[in-house]
Structures are given as C-alpha cells and as structure tokens.
Symmetry: C2
Subunit: 341 residues, 2 copies
C-alpha cells in the first residue's frame, strides 16, 4: 500500500494504521503477559501456587535479603506420586511383572516356583504374599545379570508398548502437568532440577530428559551394585543382584549428599518416604521450601493418604502441618492433572 502525501484520505488511513498498530501492540503485550506472567497455568489461584511464586520471587530478586545465587538454587523432586502417578502399583513394578511374563519362555522352572508361578497365573496378590523375599526374587530376576545398556534398552522398549490399566495410555502420559509447569518455572528462574526417587536410577534415566527435561546425571535413584567386566572383548557394566542404596526415607538425604554434595533449596514429595529429604532441605540456613502433594482426587487421579500401602502420607503430613510446609490438595489446587484430560 502506497500512501502519497497529498491524498485527501490519507489522514483517516494513517489514524486507522495507528489504531491497528496500537491494537497489535496491546495483543502482543497481553500474549506476553499470559506467557510470562502466568507460568503455572494449570495451578488454581490458591495458597499453594501463591507460596511457590512468593518463594521463587524471594530467592531470585537481587535486592532482597533472601536472594540466593543461581548455583545454589537446587530443587529436588521425588518421582512416584510427585511427578507421575503410582497407582494401582508403582510403575516400575508393572515393568517387573511384564518382564517376568516376557522372560518366562526362557525360564520353564518358573512354572513351579513362587513368586513367578503366581505372576504367570495373573495372581499378583498371591505373588506379593511372599513379602520382601518374593519382591527381592522378582527384582533379581528382572534387574540383574544384564549390562546397563541392555537394561536401558528393555526399559525403552517397555515404555513404547506398555499401557496403564486404567487409562490405556503409555505410563509416561501419567505425569502431572502442574508439576511439569513447576519444573519449567523453576528452571526458568535459574534452578537446577533433580529427581531423588526410591525408583531405580537405571529405570528412570532412559526417559527423564524427554519427559521432564531432566538429564540422566540429575536423576538419583535406588541402585544395585555394578560389575565392570569384559564381555566379547568389550568392557561392560553388569547389573549385579545386590542392593547398593535404597533411595528412600533416610536414604534420600544421604543420596543427595553423595550425588549433589550440597543441601537443596527446595524439596518436593508426596509421602513419608520423602520426610527426611524435606527435613534435611529445610534445616539449611536462609529461606527454604518444602511441598507435599496430597492425593485427594479419586476422579481424575486417586485419593489416598495415611493408610495407603503405596505412598502413605502420615508422619510427613503431621510434620508439614506443624512446620508450615506447603500441602497441595490435588483436587483443589490443580485445574488439570494430566495433559491428556
């Protein structure tokens, strides 16, 4: 469009163009405000969201006494029940059951041996009746003997085909959208985000970068012993049938120190297994942050706490109330639970 200087309609046209330009600017401003000013879009405007934003503002605003340099902004997240669901059974346990079924043709002896016999007959309850010994046998069968490369390939293959029994979706679809937004929000504010989970680190590392944006070296989990040996003339790391570290309860602060080497600034969990991690995190000097996800939504997710055999929230709930840690009421505080809703 060419505007000539002495065209009599040019004044109106200029005003129109100006209005259009102003409108565009306003639109861009509103868009930017939504994108930048509303970083936790799936969180309701309640006390939990407010506490998160207040904490992040306090430690990232340079002229406040609560300011913390970026390198000290370490945030640790439990995984099962905090970043993704853990019902009806821990997803790693579903992997164990599927692996036992897949491996069964090579193990005819399992047809007469518990807990394998019951698992192959589809009776999980009977298999679990064997208690810790039964679970140890399942773990040894599915989590040792192979190289770390082979195990990671098994995890990737399983995630690509396995479906959650309730939602008929890949297990990685059952990550909480509000927590993904929280991870992003913290990283945008200079935090380094870590997973500190009772789950196996070798089980989580193949997919945490893609799903959570957390690289393998920032994933801390339970670990078995590893053996370095030559296989077919090549060095290999072989998963051995001994436990090295159970990254749960008091094991969490221990694992944090061994791996990260400094106290986190913020810790996020959902159960009594996270209590010591939250105690350790909040015992450091200066402003600290602790948050527990309370599973209160039987419709969109699950509702369970004190009495649950998985992810019991009992002692940690009492301590959260006593110490003013943030409790997320999933039903009230999360507009959305999963991205696919």
């Amino acid at each position: 469009m060419k505007a000539t200087k002495h065209n009599p309609g040019s004044g109106r046209r200029d005003r129109m163009l100006l209005s259009l330009a102003l409108f565009t600017v306003c639109l861009l401003w509103a868009f930017a405000r939504t994108a930048i000013g509303q970083p936790l879009a799936s969180w309701s405007d309640g006390p939990a969201k407010k506490a998160i934003v207040q904490f992040v503002t306090a430690v990232t605003t340079e002229d406040l006494p609560t300011f913390v340099i970026p390198s000290e902004r370490i945030a640790v997240f439990d995984n099962d029940g905090t970043l993704w669901s853990e019902q009806p059974l821990y997803f790693q346990f579903m992997f164990v059951l599927d692996r036992i079924k897949a491996m069964a043709p090579q193990h005819p002896e399992w047809n007469d041996r518990e807990p394998f016999k019951s698992i192959l007959a589809g009776d999980i309850e009977a298999a679990l009746a064997g208690g810790e010994q039964a679970i140890a046998a399942m773990m040894v069968a599915t989590h040792s003997g192979m190289t770390t490369d082979e195990f990671q390939a098994q995890v990737v293959a399983w995630l690509a085909t396995a479906r959650h029994p309730r939602f008929n979706r890949p297990y990685t679809d059952l990550v909480y959208r509000p927590m993904l937004e929280l991870l992003n929000y913290l990283r945008e504010n200079g935090f380094k985000t870590f997973i500190v989970s009772g789950g196996g680190s070798e089980f989580m590392r193949p997919w945490t970068q893609k799903v959570y944006g957390i690289p393998p070296e920032q994933v801390i989990g339970s670990q078995g012993k590893l053996g370095f040996e030559m296989r077919d003339g090549q060095p290999a790391l072989v998963k051995l049938p001994q436990i090295d570290l159970i990254d749960d309860k008091a094991g969490k602060p221990v694992a944090i120190q061994k791996h990260i080497g400094r106290r986190p600034l913020a810790a996020f969990g959902n159960s009594d297994g996270d209590l010591e991690m939250l105690q350790w995190t909040t015992s450091g000097p200066g402003l600290r942050f602790a948050l527990l996800v309370h599973h209160t939504d039987s419709e969109r997710e699950w509702a369970y706490d004190r009495q649950s055999p998985i992810g019991a929230l009992d002692k940690a709930w009492d301590e959260a109330k006593a110490k003013g840690w943030i409790l997320v009421d999933m039903r009230r505080d999360w507009k959305k639970v999963y991205a696919f809703e």
Copy 2:
C-alpha cells in the same frame, strides 16, 4: 577535529584516517584471532594439542558425520596427577597428616599408638610402614565422626593456610594451567566437565567450583558411608568410618554409571588407576577421546611413570600406545605447567 569540505589538506587527512581505521581493524582481528583461535595458549603446537582440537572440531561441527549433540558431550577428568600435582604425596594425604597434628591435643592416647605416634614425631615413613591398616586408621581418625558440614569447613580452613613443601604455595596453586585451559575449551564447546577421582568427593567439592569451574554435583570421588541423624534437634549427615566406594580402577566406570548414567565422550587421566575409565569411555559407539598426562618434567613438576609408588603409569601406557590414545609429554607439550611460573 572538524573537517571542512574545501580544506586543501583534507584529502591527505582522510587517507591518514582511513589508514588508522584499517590498522585498528587489523589489530582487533589479530587480537580476536589470538583470543578465539588460540584457546589452548599454554599448549605447544604439537600432536597432543592438534588431536584435542581435531576431536572437538569433529564432534561440534554440525555437518560432519562425527557430530554429537551437546547433551551427550560428557568429559571426565581424573584429579590427582591430571588436574593438579600429586607429589611428594597425594595432597589429601597431606591434609590427613596436618589434621592428625591439629587433633593430637585432644588425643593424648595417640602418643603411644601407631601410626599416630610416628606422624606426631614427624616420621611419615615409619607411619606408612603399617601398610593399609595404618592408612585406614588415619582415614577413620580424620574423615569420620563429624558432620559433612564440619568436614567441609575443615577442608576450606586447611586450604587457606597449608603450603606445599616444595613450592611454599597453597595446594590449589599447583593446578595445571594447560588443563584449566582444556576444561574451559571443552565447556566453551558445549561439554559438561566432571571430575572422577580416587580422592574423596567431600574433600574436593568445597573448592572445585572456584579452582576448576566444576560444581560439587559434577565431582565424583571415593565416598565413605553417611548416617542421617538428629544432632541438637537438627538433622545432620555424619561421616561414618566405613568405605562406600573406592573411585579408582574398575571403580571409576562404576562410579560414572552410578552418577552420570551415560558413557562419557572423552576421558582424561594420568595413571593405571584411570585405565578402566578410558577403556569404558572409548568402547562407546562413534568418535571417542582418551588422553593420558605423562609426568616427564622433573624441573617444573616431577618425572615418574612405571615404577612410581604414586600415580604409576604402566599398563595404561602400554594400552595407550596400542590403541592410539593421546599421550601428553608434559615437558614437550606444555609451555607452562603452573600459572605462577
């Protein structure tokens, strides 16, 4: 300076200004070339430097088949003898001796007990005659019983006052300038740099950020067991007198997998203790890089290899020659060893 259009001298002045401008541009270009094009300034223009630059170019040039995405650019460095000196004794061992002397007034029983008696009498050789048992007793006395916070404070206080016996300088002055340049060069090219050392991780982490630009969570070392307990009503992590992991020889690839969870792209060491780390690193697919520092400079540093009681380079040297790993001849390849020279 004002130039008027019809001044008869302005032609010559313009040519002079143009020459000055061109000269300035050339100067800036030369300066930029030195700063950007010569990132390993303390390295002689020999085969080692050439191999490093070739490798980094190969994995960072997008249209080459050897290109590697930044997140996979993991580089691991041994510490003692690779990033700083390790003579006449590992520096952490000098810390142990100094701590025993400092703690002696609280331990009158040490006057009659080996290896403490000999250490307090200044006879290190006699103390070490007790072999592994004597060393274990020294480690337990100086590396357990305190909280992790207390231990880190002891390390920081020691580094501030202790002086290396040969150079009469802080131990952290004995880091190799060419290796600092190499760390920077790799990081500028998208690498994440890790330390993987037989030294204690709690001993290294208080100073590696400042000295090497490597944060605590990227320092992997030998570790003792930790206990989580309440001290004066506050949670504390206490160093226990049991070894958890010796991060040496086959322990190095194991520690790398436990901590980083993926095979490094490049590994740097100086002794047989690094052999398995280099084997593991170079066994991965695609282009890999392995380098050993050979201590050949008795004047500026030390000269030792196959027969040395500290940092022996024997089997790893043979394997380096057989496999084409890069051998740094310190005397030939490093223009400077320490920054203070």
